[in-house]
Structure formats: C-alpha cells, structure tokens
Amino acid sequence: MALDGRVPEGPIQEKWDRHRFELKLVNPANKRKYRIIVVGTGLAGGSASASLAELGYEVKTFCIQDTPRRAHSIAAQGGINAAKNYPNDGDSIWRLFYDTVKGGDYRSREANVYRLAQISNQIIDQCVAQGVPFAREYGGLLANRSFGGAQVSRTFYARGQTGQQLLLGAYSALCRQIAAGKVEMLPRREMMELVVEGDRAVGIVVRNLLTGGLERHAADAVVLATGGYGNVFFLSTNAMSSNVSAAFQAYRKGALFANPCFSQIHPTCIPRHGDYQSKLTLMSESLRNDGRVWVPATPGDKRPPNEIPEEERDYYLERRYPSFGNLVPRDVASRAAKAICDAGFGVGPTGYAVYLDFADAIRRDGRDTIRKKYGNLFDMYRNIVDEDPYETPMMIYPATHYTMGGLWVDYNLMSNIPGLFVIGEANFSDHGANRLGASALMQGLADGYFVLPYTIGGFLAEAAPSTVQTDHAAFDAAARGVEDRVRSLLAIGGNRTVDSFHRKLGEIMWEHCGMARNEAGLQEAVGLVAELREAFFKELRVPGGAGDVNQSLQKAYRVQDFLDFAELMARDALERRESCGGHFREEYQTEDGEARRDDEGFCHVAAWEYRGDEPPRRREEPLRFENVALSQRSYK
C-alpha cells in the first residue's frame, strides 16, 4: 500500500494557510493538561520546546549534553536562507522553493518545501527580535550573501558562527520557559526506548548519564529532534555524540525510516591526516565564493602549490561547469573532487585532497577584506593544519556532513506512529536527495518555531489525553529491555574497544556506501557489516559499570545501533537503482559522469518498515511534482 503524506488540497501557495485554519485548536485552558516530551535541544528541539511552552503545554525536554546550549546545530558556520529579497536581486518565496526542490534533485515533497520557503522570512524576524547579532550593512540593515551555489544573495549570517547564534537564540527562549516553570529541562539524559501502547506513542525511557539510572516519562505526544546519522561513517563533521539511536529505537517500534541512503558529503573539509583521528573539520562552504579549486594538471605532481605555474593547473570545476564554476552544489563539487583524486591528480600526503586557493581573491580585494570575511576560518585551518592559507592554498576534501534521510513524517511532521513527531534533521522531508547550503538551519527552526506548534495541536485536539502512566506494563517491558541490553554489553568481556568497531564500520561504509556506490560494493558492505556485528558481540570490551558516568558504555549502545542501521542504509542504496543528489550509483550516470535519475522508477520516497528477524519491508510514497517540472539538473 502506498504511503500517504496527507498533503492538503488546493494550490501550493494556499495549502499551509488553509491547513492551519482546518487544524482543530486546543482550548487555551486545556493546553496545560497536555504533556509533551521533546528529545534533543538543537535548533529544532530547542525552538519547539520554547514555542510549545509559550502556548501553554506542559513540556519536558531532554538532551544528552550537560546543557541545552551545545547541540551540534551550534557548529553550522555559513548561514540561514530566507526569501526576504532585501538585495533586490530577484529572489522570492517561489525561487527559494524552486531552488530547494531542484537542489534536492526532485526527491522531496513539494508542499513541505513550499511551506519551508514561506516560513523562512518569519524565522529571520523571530531571530532578530531575540537578539541574534546577524551581520549588518553600514546603514544598520541586515546583510546578505550568496551561498552554496545560489545565484541570489539570500543567506543571513553571523560571522562564521551562524548556527551558534541561532541556537543561543532558541536556548535563551527555552531558558525563559524553564525559569517560568513551563519546561522541565533534563540534561545528560539519553533516550533508550520509545514506549508505544495501543498504536500510540505515550512516553520514553531515558538513561541518566550521570547515575546510569533508568527514568520513565509519560506524555500525550513525543517529539524527536535528535539530529542525523552521519556518524555511521565514524569520521564525519558531526559532533562525537551525534547518533542514530533515538530514531532507530522509534524505527524498531514501527516508525518508518525514509531514504536512509541519502547522505550528504560536504566538499570543503580539512583532509584526513592520521589513524587516531576522531573527526573531520568542516571549512564553511562560503569559502568557495572567493576560493578557486584546482589540482596540478599532471598526475603525481609533487611540487609545492606556489611553484606550479598557472598553465600547469587544472581549475576543474571552472572547466567542467563554466556557468556555476566553484559554486556548484555540494554533491556535484564532492564527486568532482573524488573523481579527480581517484584519477591520481590529488595533492597532499595521502593524495586525497585538492587545493582551494585564495591568491586571486587576495590580489583583487586585499588581504584585509579576505580576513574580514573568512578570518576565523583561516585561523581555524592554520591551527589544525599548521599552514597559513593567506600564503599557501588550503587543502580540502569531501566529508560526511548531513543526512537528508530520516524518520518518515507526513505533512504534519508526524510519523506513522500517532503521537510521535519528528523534526529537524531527524526527519526526511524537505531536502530530497541533497540539501542546499544554509537550508538546515532554516528547516530546523521552521519545524520548531512555526510548523510543529500548530500541527501538534491538531493531533492533541483530536486525540484524548493518554491514560498510560509510567507504572503501565508497556513501560515495565521497555525498561526491562534497556536493562538487559546494557547488562549484556557490559558482559561481553572481549578484547576490542568500541571505537575500533566504530572506526571499522566507518571504513566499510565510506568505501562502499559513501560518495559513489555500486551493486557489488553494496552487497559486500551488507556482508561485511554483518560480520562486524558478529565480532562486536564476541570481542567487545566495555570497561567500568552501569552505575555512573561511563562514556565507553554510551558509545557501545550507540555503535550497536549504528551497526544495525548501516545495513538498512546499504539496503536502501542497493534498492534505489538510480543516481540522484548525494546518492550516486556508478551504474547510473551520463556519459560525462553526471548523476542519471530514473523518474519512471524512483520518483518516490522509500520508507522502510521494521519486521523483527525478517528483512525490512520497503514501502513507497509517490512524489508528485505539480509546480516544478522534473528536469535533469545542470550546472554547466
């Protein structure tokens, strides 16, 4: 049976307005009778918690960090898009909508994307009112820049710390509600289990990361804002604690997991340098506005970059994509870098890096202008790599950055389990097969501030308050399951650390399910992951106990979930026999190496249903494009 995204009827411009009117309202006096759980305090979870509490709901919010100000949204550097059209350069809600659908390679839901573009402007208003110090022009009005391949300047930014400033805005709104007693904030808690009773999400079981104790929390609705799963690759630009576990517990309880193979590789990261490495560092994509990407024209040319004359360099992005040049979207830029390095033209100690050169920009605009724009990024690069990007080109290479796939949600951001909502990166809905730069912040805040607070009311107004309390058998069973799981991980008593398994898993996935994939490789990955999982349960060693802070234990259950999830991801990549966005199947490419979509066969969302020991079932939600004509993306 095909899945129904419950998109409202009517012209796309009117859907959201009409839907908001049609959603039933909860009587203001009754709102305090409804308890809502929010898991995660990034942009989506933080903004949702604050907004729901402002409306009068009783909110409990959880995060794994020591405070709700640290979630990985904080690391976003570049900016946030909005269709304000302040620069008068031809932007509009329609253009932002169009660009996002096209950028997502026609694998997102049109109506969701349109709503996102509509709301984008309100987000900027809200953030400015909260005191987010966006960059401004001399006249005191807000500044914009072009970002990540957009041909209009629609990106708002706060130096290289936009994510941090937006998150601190949401965090301050949250703190105001905590002080008002409307949000109970529970940091250092990890969701271990979703409690479902009678087909409805009624609560969660969390583990207190300081004491190891299990805590039960019942609610009328549960909101997951738990981010993406990029750390399945071990090395990624994600924070160390970013994980798939909360989403995966929901999947095990029947929530559908949509498009898990859609992961985004970011083109401008600092290349890998050693086996001990724990993470990869992103250099903002805004650098491509002024930096020129090149490699030596001769493979294996080991001369220092400044000694390679202009005519012996290959500015391959400018050559292959004359109209977009260095500003092609992320997936295109990443694949081009991989292709040129695979062909032996790469630079640096490993041969897996390309140059990002600012010499022309510095000559043109002066060192001070460049420092003003990118100073903190240049400093960061110099600190990590020990080379000065003002003098010698940066080296960059793609790395896993964002995951477009996630739990399946309908237009109301509700999963197929009634009462379970999923927002931000944790859901799948708005970016299709590839996310455009500066759109993640936009989506997280759109979901949290302006979509969920309406749609959750529509659900609660129609559903009676849940009667399931924490002493219910469903909670007993969930808590017992978690206890058993923790105990069995501690009892393995092998001789390998959890990081060694995670690193190995990352190698398998990067090799076979990364920037380029093919049938044989994906089959192999499924087998290798299964072998690794077997070894995990025989050879893992988790030091310490379950009764206090034990980061090795935390990593162990997260990696256990990543091992199961990796198989689902590879399976999804296998079944999607086309190339689109970040999903590049080598069998499906054009003669000049571009992605070849198959709109006949795959213009749908693939949503996976967990079935215990049986293989998961692949279900489909057909995607209809009524406002944007399907076309081959071209950035030439």
């Binding site: 903004s47 402002e54 960090q65 020591d66 405070t67 100000r69 640290r70 990985h72 904080i74 690391a75 309100q122 900027i124 809200q126 953030c127 400015v128 009112a129 909260q130 005191g131 110090p133 401004r136 001399y138 005191g140 807000l142 130096r159 710390q161 941090q164 400033q165 601190l168 965090y171 301050s172 709104a173 703190c175 905590i178 002080a179 904030m185 924070a239 160390m240 340098h273 050693g274 001990y276 724990s278 560092t281 992103l282 640096g348 960061m380 790599v385 020990d386 501030y449 302006f450 607070p453 650390t497 990081d499 060694s500 060693r541 030091p543 310490g544 206090d548 802070v549 034990n550 090795s552």
Partner: protein, 257 residues
C-alpha cells in the same frame, strides 16, 4: 600538513576521581608515542584506548563538537584553563605545542559553583541558571516585527557579536581566583544591552543575573583579568565594565528591584 610525522614522548599527570564524595588523586600515565598532529583530546582518546585494553578505567572527560564551538570540553592543563595556547579550546589544542619529555598536568575545572562529577567532568549547570535569571529577550514565537524595522549601527552589532561569541565553557570561572562568573555574565548582559531589542529588559536582566550569580556560589570580581587571558573566544573584560554600568544604572535609576 607537513609530510613527515613527528612523535613525542610525554607523561600525563591526570586527575582521577571516581565520584564527588570520593578522594581524588593524580595518576601518572606514560604516553610514549604521541603524534604531534593529534589534538589534545585525540591524545586522550589514544590513552583511553590503551587503558581499556589494559583492563583499567578510561579517563572520563566532556567533549562533543571538537571544533571549538560547543563549549563542552575543557580542563586545566599545566595550570592554565584550556592549556597554553591562547584563544583556543582544549579540543583545538594540538600536541605540536608540546615537547618531547614534557610532563603535562591535567585537572578539572575547580570552582565552588561547578560540583565535581568524575575525573575531568564537572557540573556547569549553574551557568544555565544564570541565563534563566534573565539572559534572554522576552519575545514569544510569532510576535516579532519585520526584521529590518529596527536598524542597528554596524559597529554596535559587531560589538554585540563579540560578546555573543561566548561558548559557555566555564574557563573564565575556572581561571578566576574567586571563581567568579563575571565574564560569562558580562558577555550575556553586554550582548543584549548593546542591541535595541534588548533595551526594554536591560535593567531587569542586569539585576536578575547579578543576584543569581551571588546565589549560585560564584565569587566576586577583583579585576584579576585571568578570565580574559584564558577565554577561547577572546571576550574582553570591557563587557564586565558594561555589566557594572548596567547594574548601577538599574540599581539607581530604574524602578526594577
């Protein structure tokens, strides 16, 4: 990224404490082969891998983004919060800043307002309590005016951004001989006081946060400037001066009590 890798041999004297009520002590750990491209936390990862395989308990330390922006990591290294490199969080400190044969002392943040948890992990939630005491602008979702209604002069917006860059790591408190949170509080009060949007609640904010600071067990400021010296985001003590001005203005000239 130089081609050759350099390796140094160091000794760690690292604080070990199983629980808040138990006695802590320094443990000496020999680390023979530290690649200098490693970050400090990657070095600790390697140490922890080894401890695990030897059947010992790894050193617990808070960390998350490892890009110097989340504010989760931090330890006092050789007596300096976040270590010897200025304007750098612990995760962005690299081992190339150390020499072969070094003995490196690693301790947790120590402050009355930051209770001990385990090893290098402490409880910094007092900083959240401070923000809850007024470090926000009261604007409900949906009630904001159009963003360009209120222009903010660029230099003022820049100064607000300088203050807003605080990552809430707590190094300023750890470095202060009085364990004062004046730089943290000053940064927040200053960030919002500089913006027209923050003015309506400026007096309430300054009074509320200042009082909360006293109540939470943070000490007073005696102009040691240690906070400024260790701040990974280079937040200036001029923001403390602005906090003081805002506090005096609020105490003497406003109806807020």
């Amino acid at each position: 990224m130089t081609e050759e890798t350099t390796t140094i041999h160091i000794q760690l004297k690292v604080w070990r404490q199983k629980a808040p009520q138990e006695k802590g002590r320094f443990e000496t750990i020999d680390v023979p082969d530290v690649e200098t491209h490693m970050s400090f936390l990657e070095m600790l990862d390697v140490v922890n891998e080894r401890l695990t395989l030897e059947g010992r308990e790894p050193v617990e330390f808070d960390h998350d983004c490892r890009e110097g922006i989340c504010g989760m990591c931090g330890a006092v290294v050789d007596g300096i919060a976040h270590g010897p490199e200025p304007a750098t969080t612990l995760c962005q400190l690299h081992m190339r800043k150390f020499s072969d044969g070094d003995v490196i002392v690693v301790e947790p943040w120590r402050a009355r307002a930051f209770p001990m948890v385990k090893d290098l992990v402490v409880d910094r939630s007092a900083l959240d309590r401070l923000v809850e005491a007024g470090g926000y602008i009261s604007v409900n979702t949906g009630s904001a005016p159009e963003a360009n209604t209120l222009p903010v002069p660029q230099p003022r917006a820049d100064e607000a951004m300088d203050a807003a860059a605080c990552i809430g790591c707590g190094a300023c408190v750890a470095a202060c001989p009085n364990a004062s949170a004046m730089l943290f509080t000053g940064a927040k009060v200053s960030h919002l006081a500089l913006l027209p949007q923050g003015r309506p609640e400026a007096a309430r904010r300054a009074l509320g946060m200042q009082r909360a600071m006293d109540g939470l067990g943070f000490g007073n400021c005696s102009n040691e400037r240690e906070c400024e010296a260790v701040c990974p985001k280079e937040i200036k003590i001029t923001h403390i001066a602005r906090l003081n001005r805002e506090f005096i203005k609020a105490s003497l000239g406003s109806k807020e009590r």
